[in-house]
Amino acid sequence: MILLDYAFLWKGILSGLLISISTSLMGVFLLMKRLSLLGAGLSHAAFGGIALAILLGIDPMVFTLFYMVMSGLTIQLLIERKGLPADTVISLFFSLGVALAIIILGITQNLGSNIYSYLFGSILTVSDRELLGVLLVSLLSLVFVFFYYRKLLLISFNEEIALLRGVKVRTLNYLLIGIASANIVFAIKAVGLILASSFIAIPPMSALLVSTSFLSTLVLSVLVSFLATLMGIFLSLELDIPPSGAIVLCMVVMFLFLAFWRLLVNLRRRFL
């Protein structure tokens, strides 16, 4: 653990933990709105954005942030205005991003090594600027959920009831998708675009298995994500394995543990 004396490691750990908190929080609302696929769709859509940014020599983080938030808002616009099914719209952006990346990779020679870090993540090489970005996005997510908690709860229950009670459902939906999209950008830095959707999907799904209220779903989701990220990073340092894989594996193990726990509780209720 002598490695922990290095400042870069602490930056990586801090950014990983921050993003684990905010993505798992956003993920709960996306799950209840049946938009969990947004994580997978947008992270793959980002592939095209990242390749385009590298090709054009633009800062990938800034460009991808812009590209992702715009993609997220367009997805919401198409779902809301055109009544298209969410999974169809998301897969359209998924395909567009990957197709764009494949073409750019095909016509350029030396993008391979750059793209590699985005595909599989590089949490331990977080720059000061990226750490600041994670901090801002995480803070924004927490403030958003804190101030609009009750309204988001009503929207998660039934949008029509929320509308009649004066909740600005459309505005909050756009804000939710926009902030979630920004979170996914930094999840890509942590675990790569292939695994980024795990942050949005697995912790809320795990929480859903054992939660007894809306608040406990949020708390458990954050807890699962936080612990898995912490354990994943330490496992990767101890065993010298890639942190992205280790983090997501820890999330899956925690999900399976909670699923087993729920099964035991249900069996006990039924037979004892």
Partner: protein, 224 residues
């Protein structure tokens, strides 16, 4: 003459132009009335409610609530809405208590929790309640602002006989002080309670008195 709570004039709506779901429909609902909307599946009952509540925009025609045009209507606290319970998000994990906290301050919802005997359900998750309990909670949520008009979409669907009776008794009680509009495909429930009924999905949509509809149905029964 009681005042008009809902006034629908020459309303037309369609999802596809070649198949108008609601075509040049006009009717009024008066203060204190128990008004039923009947029709088979796909007749446009829920769509009509969604138009009245402003969730959908009419292609043609005009809707007024409490004498004000729907475009400028702001007094939504006067309107309570109970959606079909199947429209609630299945993954929602919130408790009944959390829902009440989200919708109104505690002092404003105390009476309705007591009125519908929901005290024991407050700590339970909404999606783990029985159909009848869910319907009571949805009704209570709609009543939190003490509205003058209560609109319900298929309130008895999927409930067992006891739950149906319980909800029907509550609605009968509520209708003594409020205007109630109920959409249902359950003919006997609407005939038992409504004073006037709008029949959708027939060649000509029309409002009839419940007694007249009962007579028409009896005649039809004799013929067959």
């Amino acid at each position: 003459m009681p005042s008009e709570v809902i006034k629908v004039s020459n309303l037309t709506f369609y999802y596809r132009q070649e198949e108008p779901l609601i075509d040049n429909l006009s009717f009024s609902v008066f203060e204190g009335e128990f008004f039923g909307i009947l029709g088979p599946n796909g007749a446009g009952k829920t769509t009509l409610l969604r138009l009245i509540l402003g969730f959908l925009k009419p292609i043609k025609g005009r809707i007024e609530l409490f004498g004000q045009d729907l475009h400028t209507f702001k007094e939504w606290k006067r309107v309570g809405y109970v959606p079909q319970r199947f429209y609630v998000e299945r993954a929602f994990t919130g408790t009944v208590g959390e829902l009440f906290k989200a919708i109104a301050p505690k002092e404003k919802v105390g009476w309705i929790i007591a009125y519908l005997h929901l005290e024991d359900l407050l700590k339970k998750q909404f999606n783990k309640l029985s159909g009848g309990q869910q319907q009571r909670v949805l009704l209570a949520l709609a009543l939190t602002t003490n509205p003058d008009l209560l609109i319900l979409d298929e309130p008895l669907t999927g409930l067992d006989i006891h739950a149906q009776e319980h909800i029907e008794n509550i609605l009968r009680d509520i209708s003594k002080t409020k205007t109630v509009v109920v959409v249902s495909h359950d003919v006997s429930f609407v005939l038992r309670n409504a004073s006037r009924i709008l029949c959708l999905g027939m060649q000509e949509c029309q409002v009839v008195k419940a007694q007249e509809l009962k007579g028409m149905l009896k005649e039809l029964y004799k013929l067959h």
